[in-house]
């Protein structure tokens, strides 16, 4: 049976922004549709409207010509619209089976049979009786999918499903989605990853700033054309020139271990690596494998043994972040809003967070506001931060502008080494490009970078050498030309 889903003139306005501006779209079963757009383009709003989480200000939704009233997620379920959110909605301490029957009023035995049938049909293998917290991200996602399939949906919506998956898990997911599509389930796939759209989908709808920009067939598009539609300007592609291989060693980590008292942190075991001047070392991995701990050990937020870190011929393992900055290290943490900057403080105050002796930001315990403001203005103009008001609270900067400010702040010392952790996480393509260009420039000036990132494409683009972190252990360090994203995926999954 064919399914036809129609969105007609949907508008949703939030204070200060039009999230969906008169969107009309039509979907038919048998095809996989991509909904593509940057962060903030309005994809999530549209999807939440389809799943009953948000009620639109105007517009109607039709399923097979029937006008749907979606006032709650329950209404969506009743109308056989299934949704798998980016963040899993599972009870970690309950078993897989308990999670699956939690919103079902059928007999336990019959549900179990149904689940077994689904798993067999799609080749899923998950132990139903272990707690969800023991599952990998990919398996958790399968649980969410099974939960949808139990209601034999007509429409299945996937919101950025691959952000937590390895390369292998992604391939498996795509196979399943294609199978579902063949069986007549209408699939809407939300993403900002262009490669996935090309690989999986048949038709693509692009959104930008709340508006629908285009609807087209994948065979008429390529990555560049989609990127341009998504960003709305012609992007130049950046290519990193091969670094001059220097043998001048800048930082050397020897036998570094970290054991945490917090059960939710990852222990680091026997970390060994070194970075030469002008080089970028990429550290790949699925989030939660010790990246955050590694960053903190390198930045000095976690103190380690003095001899475990040698920087510029000094042993600095026991120094605090502030002391390490004096040795010309700089740090850009993952969490922009909670760690790298304080949203409630003004731009220039955030600049003063990177305090080093020669900055004269603070003299004899007093704030030297003129000096800080002077530096702030320089950062704003040098790093293209889109504002001219340094008194603005930084919460009013977009993610991209805030990241530029942070990177700019860290670079005013012209450090020998910049350590950054997911520097482009959640940014739009324009800002990502800018940050990437900046990082490449740093290498060209013979300065070094340690780039901890969960974005494989970014690592392959920027790194000279790559290592993979898995459960707190680093793989051997590889030259980036020898590495493919498939190989990284295997290592990220823990295989050798």
């Amino acid at each position: 049976m064919n399914t036809n889903l129609k969105i007609s003139n949907v508008t949703k306005i939030y204070p200060g922004c039009v999230a969906n501006d008169n969107i009309s779209l039509e979907f038919n079963s048998g095809k996989i549709y991509a909904l593509l757009g940057e962060n903030g383009a309005g994809k999530s709003t549209l999807v939440k409207i389809l799943s009953g989480v948000i009620i639109p200000d105007e517009g109607k939704i039709y399923l097979n010509e029937n006008n749907l009233k979606l006032n709650s997620p329950l209404d969506a379920k009743k109308n056989e619209i299934g949704m798998v959110f980016q963040h899993f909605n599972l009870f970690e301490t309950l078993s897989v089976f308990e999670n699956l029957i939690i919103d079902s009023d059928e007999q336990r035995e019959s549900v179990r049979e149904k689940i077994d049938a689904i798993m067999k049909k799609y080749n899923f293998s998950i132990d139903l009786d272990i707690p969800v917290l023991n599952l990998s991200a990919g398996q958790k996602q399968k649980v969410e999918i099974i939960r949808c399939l139990l209601r034999s949906p007509k429409v299945l919506i996937m919101d950025e499903p691959t952000s937590v998956l390895t390369e292998q898990e992604t391939s498996e997911l795509f196979l399943s989605l294609k199978k579902f599509s063949e069986e007549g389930i209408l699939i809407i796939y939300i993403t900002h990853k262009l490669k996935e759209v090309m690989r999986l989908c048949d038709e693509v709808a692009v959104m930008r700033r709340g508006k629908l920009v285009s609807v087209s067939e994948i065979k008429n598009e390529n990555i560049e054309s989609l990127a341009n539609k998504m960003v709305g300007q012609n992007l130049k592609t950046i290519k990193k020139k091969k670094a001059k291989t220097s043998s001048d060693q800048l930082i050397k980590i020897t036998n570094l271990n970290f054991t945490s008292e917090d059960p939710f942190e990852t222990n680091l075991t026997e970390i060994n690596f070194s970075v030469n001047r002008g080089e970028c070392l990429g550290i790949a991995g699925i989030s939660g494998n010790g990246q955050s701990e590694l960053f903190q050990v390198l930045s000095g937020e976690i103190i380690s043994e003095k001899n475990s870190i040698e920087f510029n011929n000094n042993y600095i393992g026991d120094l605090s972040p502030q002391e390490r900055r004096e040795y010309l290290m700089a740090f850009s943490p993952e969490d922009r809003l909670e760690q790298a900057a304080i949203p409630q403080m003004k731009i220039f105050e955030n600049v003063a967070l990177n305090n080093f002796k020669s900055s004269n930001f603070f003299n004899n315990g007093l704030i030297n506001e003129n000096k800080i403001k002077e530096h702030s203005k320089k950062i704003i103009s040098d790093f293209n931060v889109n504002t001219d008001n340094i008194e603005l609270k930084s919460q009013f900067l977009s993610g991209g502008n805030l990241q530029k400010l942070i990177i700019g702040r860290e670079l005013i010392t012209s450090p020998d080494l910049l350590i950054c952790f997911n520097p482009t996480w959640g940014l739009d393509v324009g800002a990502i490009n800018y940050i990437h260009e900046t990082l490449i420039k740093i290498n060209e000036q013979n300065k070094s970078i340690i780039l901890i990132s969960t974005d494989t494409d970014e690592l392959l683009k920027l790194s000279d050498k790559i290592s993979v972190i898995h459960k707190g252990k680093l793989s051997k360090i590889m030259n980036s030309e020898e590495v493919t994203s498939e190989k990284l995926g295997i290592l990220m999954g823990g295989a050798n």
Binding site: E301, S320, R325, A340, I342, I367
Partner: protein
């Protein structure tokens, strides 16, 4: 049609306008309440807000009440600006008063220039000690400082109660719940003959100036602010965030303790059961009404002090219970929180036609 639009950036003007708006709305609502109770609104408001401070004595009383409010609110502003919700200033005030009162009693019937500074210092230390309990529990055991500091208020009041009826009660006091009178050397000097305003006001003014300087001009103030917003950021910047949290609590406790000293070594000159008409709680309203800014807090403490005086006048002349004062304090906070909505949203009037 009325439309509510999010502001891109809260304007500076609106930031100082909303407290004024809140006071205005409080007056309107107060007038309305008086009207419902059967009084002439304007006359009642006059009794409440103008009559009490119309003469010299009234003005001195105003300053007398504003002094502890201002002092405590200044201390609290350190905590609140750095996101530490110390709401137990009343307890820190009480404990400061207990310690300084104890020291003052040690010097019973003694004279000496060193006595008063010792008594004042003891009060500040008492307040700091008491504030350090929620601070240390928060930083090292992750407890909620709101609960801990609030509950400790009642503990300190019970300790005071026990002392003034038990071991410290005046042997010649006919079992009244109060201690002996402090010697004159342990009392803050009165500023004018016949008026109750005392030297404690200088402590408050000094606190205003010092707090402004520390918070806006020093590296220490900057670190406190950062640590308050985010311990993670403080750690990343290389600050000792936990120490900063403890420090703001200590400052806050010291101010509240000093306010306690002012209450017992001022006009009263002894420890008794009711040393503070909830100054420690009311100061929370003062701190927010003053926008946590030292100068704002001066004005706010004067405004809120009037509600104490007005309530008494209203009770005498209009037979309204003096708890009306608390109603007014509540309304100020209520309207302040409500009008703070305007910080982030503006109201637009647009034509009905689309």
């Amino acid at each position: 049609m009325i439309k509510i639009v999010k502001r891109d950036q809260p304007s500076r003007a609106i930031f100082f306008f909303t407290p004024v708006l809140a006071i205005f709305l409080t007056l309107v609502a107060g007038g309305l309440i008086f009207f419902i109770l059967g009084f002439k609104p304007f006359e009642a408001l006059k009794f409440f807000f103008i009559v009490p401070i119309a003469d010299k004595y009234g003005f001195s009383e105003l300053l007398l009440k504003a002094t502890p409010l201002c002092l405590i609110a200044i201390g609290l502003s350190f905590c609140f600006k750095s996101n530490n919700w110390n709401i137990g200033a009343e307890g820190q005030l009480t404990f400061g008063a207990i310690v300084s009162g104890g020291v003052a009693l040690l010097f019973y019937e003694q004279e000496g220039f060193y006595i008063l500074p010792t008594v004042i210092l003891a009060g500040a230390i008492g307040g700091m000690l008491y504030a350090s309990i929620p601070a240390i529990l928060k930083t090292y055991f992750n407890t909620n400082e709101i609960l801990v500091s609030l509950m400790l208020v009642y503990v300190s009041k019970l300790i005071l109660d026990y002392l003034v009826v038990g071991p410290w009660s005046n042997p010649e006091g006919f079992n009244f719940p109060e201690t002996r009178q402090f010697s004159d050397s342990a009392k803050l000097p009165l500023l004018f003959e016949g008026l109750r305003i005392h030297a404690g006001i200088f402590l408050a003014l000094a606190a205003v100036v010092i707090s402004w300087f520390v918070f806006y001009k020093t590296y220490l103030g900057f670190q406190m602010k950062v640590s308050g917003f985010s311990l993670k950021t403080a750690k990343y910047a290389g600050y000792k965030g936990k120490k900063m949290i403890i420090l703001v609590f200590l400052i806050s406790g010291a101010c509240a303790g000093l306010a306690g000293v002012g209450e017992i070594t001022g006009p009263i000159g002894q420890l008794h059961r009711e040393i503070s008409p909830d100054y420690g709680f009311t100061a929370i309203i003062v701190a927010f009404l003053g926008r946590l800014h030292p100068v704002g807090i001066i004005f706010a403490s004067l405004v809120v002090a009037i509600t104490y005086l007005g309530a008494e006048t209203a009770q005498i002349f209009m037979q309204i219970p003096k708890y009306t004062g608390q109603v007014f304090q509540g309304m100020i906070l209520f309207f302040l929180l409500a009008s703070d909505y305007l910080l982030f949203f503006k109201i637009k009037f647009i034509g009905l036609k689309k």
